[in-house]
């Protein structure tokens, strides 16, 4: 074989166009997703991307609350369910429910609980995020399902966890961010007019779901290749914040130091921060997002790069003063260095700054908005963004999976479906229910 360059080789083995000709790694695994909002749904979603059959169980008619969540109440996909043709599903639901089958069951009703036990008997696992103990009380928790199916892997995901002093507290993503410590180290300091800030994405939810999925697959590995046993797992979303920021905890524990926020600069490296350029890249746009001035990450923390950068912006005095990294990484030094770079960039767009820095061999990355990411060929070429021909909603731009596998890659088949769209398929296939029985359950409000 003629030698293929490494780049060509990667393009070939990771080519998103070839994904559907490759096998799915979790084929044959079945999970029930009795989840709402983002933390639980995304956890099950990552398994569905890998080929597990994930059955999302929602309350009939309106489904779960995340369906009714969308920016400024504007974009929606219709219908929410066959019962509510005039209600749409908001885009908040979009990122966490790909590839799943949609079943509606009212867990409160005994017939609904019986359906759950029938499904639990045939499933590898359950992801669930009702208040701790609720499913146990309904007879469909781990203690009951593991009697029917000892191999079941039951992952409860939630805010504070089901035991301990805070066990009764409700939580959401930003509560995890706020009370877990994330806010305290993000945003500009007070003397720069800032305050503790959230990560705009629901990161403790979406990333917490990733942690849950990792633990589930590890437990499948242990079950199928080592022990044969199921498992009960509890993921606490607020705990995720402490795990995330373990270095801050170590500094507090050793030194009593309480790490603070430092805006767009970096506490470990200098220069390694985001600066404002003075000009917008799209001065004629009607969109205020594009009229904003541009921002760019400038990274020149080595002595050689820093000297080059200071020469470029004609600040030879700073090059001398901060010749060593130990000097320029001090907080007070950064307060002098970054404004000098911004002064130089004030008559430029982020693209102009990028071109000049790149020519000088200085590492940089313009701050992209979601349009610039969506239209950049890099991300679509790699399958990190994709256009889905969705069977329910038509053409949709979607995020791709978070990682690439050469032999058994994750993939997206559809975005999501209306509430209860697969009732007949799932109840027929797994519970053996007849058309008449399904119609009766629907009339009784069980499904």
């Amino acid at each position: 074989m003629a030698a293929m360059s490494f780049e060509e080789y990667c393009r070939d083995v990771f080519d998103p166009k070839k994904i559907f000709s490759k096998p799915e790694p979790l084929k044959g695994a079945r999970f029930l997703s009795c989840t709402q909002y983002i933390l639980g749904p995304s956890c099950a979603n990552y398994l569905a991307e890998l080929g597990a059959e994930v059955i999302k169980v929602e309350l009939p008619r309106r489904g779960e609350p995340m369906r009714h969540t969308t920016p400024f109440n504007e974009p929606k996909l219709y219908p929410c369910s066959k019962w509510l043709p005039d209600v749409g599903t908001g885009l908040g639901f979009f990122g966490a429910n790909h590839n799943e089958y949609f079943l509606s069951v009212d867990f409160h009703k005994p017939e609904g609980q019986e359906v759950m036990r029938m499904l639990g008997a045939k499933s590898d696992g359950v992801a669930e995020n009702y208040r701790a103990g609720t499913f146990d009380r309904w007879g469909i928790g781990y203690r009951q399902l593991s009697q029917i199916n000892p191999r079941i892997i039951y992952q409860w995901l939630g805010g504070f966890g089901g035991w301990g002093p805070g066990r009764k507290r409700a939580s959401y993503d930003i509560l995890g961010q706020a009370q877990g410590g994330c806010f305290s180290v993000t945003g500009w300091p007070l003397n720069k007019g800032g305050m503790p800030s959230k990560q705009t994405i629901w990161i403790m939810d979406y990333w917490g779901g990733m942690m849950g999925a990792f633990q589930i697959i590890a437990c499948m590995y242990w079950r199928d290749h080592i022990s044969g046993q199921g498992n009960f797992l509890e993921y606490s979303q607020v705990q995720g914040a402490q795990r995330h920021l373990s270095d801050c905890i170590a500094m507090y524990g050793r030194h009593g130091l309480v790490p603070q926020r430092f805006g767009n600069w970096d506490t470990l490296l200098s220069v390694h921060g985001i600066i404002g350029c003075g000009k917008s890249s799209y001065p004629d746009s009607k969109n205020p997002q594009e009229l904003e001035v541009g921002y760019i990450l400038v990274s020149a923390y080595t002595d050689a790069d820093f000297a080059k950068l200071m020469k470029l912006i004609k600040k030879d005095n700073l090059a001398t003063k901060y010749a060593s990294h130990g000097e320029r990484v001090k907080a007070e030094s950064q307060y002098e260095i970054y404004p000098a770079i911004e002064e130089w960039a004030k008559d430029k767009t982020k693209e102009q700054v990028r071109d000049i820095l790149t020519k000088e061999g200085i590492n940089n990355q313009p701050v992209f908005n979601s349009k610039e990411v969506s239209t950049h060929e890099h991300f679509h070429l790699r399958g990190e963004l994709e256009w889905l021909d969705d069977p329910s909603f038509g053409e949709l731009q979607s995020q791709g999976p978070a990682f690439h596998l050469s032999e058994s890659p994750p993939r997206h088949k559809w975005a999501f479906k209306p509430v209860g769209a697969d009732n007949e398929y799932i109840l027929g296939k797994l519970c053996g229910f007849s058309k008449t029985k399904i119609a009766k359950l629907e009339a009784d409000g069980v499904i």
């Binding site: 979009f94 503790p196 979601s370």
Partner: protein, 467 residues
């Protein structure tokens, strides 16, 4: 007393006891919680098996957290993780906030100072050194690869391939090997990583920075995450990819595969509706500060002594929030519940409605501290909590009780407070065994155990600068 003991006593306030936590509850009410405690308490972890203790991972990454984070998830679940570092150690070891040496951690044996960010993700791992720029070092890596289930590396794109130790070559030697490359933007494609790309590169490139922080009208700018967030999200994606490949190897193929994960891909995956929204109508997601574009009430706003989070997107909680406010300020509750434009959940989302809502809420919160506001709202079962700083986080009773924060009394580094493993489970929980190792601490053990090197071999390698 050794200098390695913490300056502060921790916990400063004693951790609550189970009797205090469950005081006054009926047996029925606390039965499930006590069952959970009996099955999940982290103090029992070391009596239980580990899910991944037949897996060996070589973490050959440096200067980024993405690879170290990924391998931490494996070491927490029991895999043997060996950090393969350049001679002299991963440069990340030497970094501490603002370059302050006093924030570093020193081990009693070698006296080497290590920065907190590296040490936080060195948990339960061994450290060896190996110079891969030398042919002899690469030959050693090939031998190590024969003993590995997983290799993680983050060299510039194609570097290892050029050196003859990339996936194409190592998979010939060890077909069962799972080979994972991690980085910021990718090892292929028009924006593939350039040398020097580190975490905020992915944050800036993936749309995260543009969307984080307050709008211009509120005096804000695009804002980066305060930590290397893309590395941690991307590293978690890498870990899912690797564990999936391991599962697939055992179950189906008998062979390893090539895994690639980046900070950008990880965060793009979780940037909720950015992409769908642009696809539907061309909208560019704006920044919205500490409010939420898609849920009202769901925000962090100022109060008397800081900021407080209040969340209640649907009606049940919405009215409870205003009932809480109304106990102190009836006119504020009245203003909101009588507003016809705020009756329906979805009608509350437009910007001017959010301004109205939060202005009214802040009118009440300005007279309440975080603790007062949180206590009043929680009495109505509303999700709420003050923005906490790390002194408060480390002393938070719930976290202490559950072991979210724990002291590792390490044989080398002394007592170190850490965020413990988040993998809580009945049968195979995650755990931290030791805090980390000084550079090259395990050369002797690993090279003797895996490669059969003698003392003389190792002396020679050391002399030639290979290890």
């Amino acid at each position: 007393m050794s200098k390695n003991y913490p300056v502060l006593p921790w916990p400063a306030v004693p951790t609550p006891t189970p009797d205090e936590v469950y005081k006054g509850e009926s047996d029925a009410a606390k039965e499930y919680a006590l069952w959970l405690e009996a099955n999940l308490r982290q103090s029992e972890n070391f009596k239980k098996p580990e899910a991944l203790n037949n897996i060996r991972v070589l973490d050959c990454t440096s200067m980024m957290i993405i690879g170290h984070w990924c391998s931490s998830l494996f070491s927490e679940l029991g895999a043997e993780v060996i950090m393969v570092e350049p001679v002299g150690g991963d440069p990340l070891r030497k970094l501490s906030p603002f370059g302050r040496k006093e924030y570093m951690f020193t081990d009693e044996k070698t006296g080497e100072a290590v920065g907190p960010r590296f040490l936080a993700e060195a948990r339960s791992k061994q450290s060896v050194t190996l110079d891969l720029t030398k042919p002899e070092g690469r030959e050693m890596l090939k031998k190590l690869a024969m003993h590995a289930d997983v290799i993680i590396e983050n060299a510039p794109p194609g570097q290892w391939d050029e050196w003859g130790i990339g996936y194409r070559q190592l998979s010939q030697l060890n077909p069962r090997l799972i080979y994972c490359w991690v980085g910021q933007l990718g090892q292929w494609g028009p924006l593939k990583d350039k040398p020097g790309n580190l975490d905020p590169t992915a944050q800036a490139a993936c749309g995260f920075v543009h969307g984080t922080g307050a709008p211009v009208a509120f005096g804000g700018t695009p804002t980066r995450s305060g930590w290397w967030m893309c590395d941690q999200v991307g590293g978690t994606g890498a870990a899912i990819g690797i564990i999936t490949a391991l599962y697939y190897r055992e179950r189906v193929s008998g062979r390893g595969q090539f895994v690639e994960a980046t900070g950008a891909a990880g965060v793009i995956r979780i940037l909720d509706y950015n992409w769908g929204w642009y696809g539907v109508d061309g909208s560019i997601r704006p920044r919205y500060g500490n409010w939420d574009l898609a849920i009202n009430i769901y925000a962090v706003n100022p109060c008397k002594d800081g900021q407080i989070m209040v969340g209640g997107g649907h009606d049940r909680l919405w009215f409870r929030i205003w009932r809480t406010v109304g106990k102190d300020r009836p006119e504020l509750e009245q203003r909101i519940v009588e507003d016809q434009g705020l009756k329906v959940v979805t009608d509350r989302l437009p910007h001017y409605k959010q301004v109205e809502t939060y202005t009214t809420l802040c009118d009440w919160m300005k007279d309440n501290t975080r603790l007062q506001g949180e206590s009043k709202l929680q009495a109505e079962e509303v999700a709420s909590g003050g923005v906490s700083f790390f002194d408060e986080v480390c002393e938070f009773p719930h976290y202490k009780y559950r072991g979210h924060v724990e002291v590792i009394d390490d044989v080398l580094y002394g007592k170190v407070l850490i965020g413990s493993s988040a993998f809580i489970g009945q049968k195979t929980p995650g755990r931290v065994k030791w805090i980390g190792r000084p550079t090259a601490y395990d050369n002797e053990d690993v090279y003797r155990r895996l490669l059969g090197f003698t003392k003389a071999d190792m002396d020679g390698l050391k002399k030639r600068g290979v290890i």
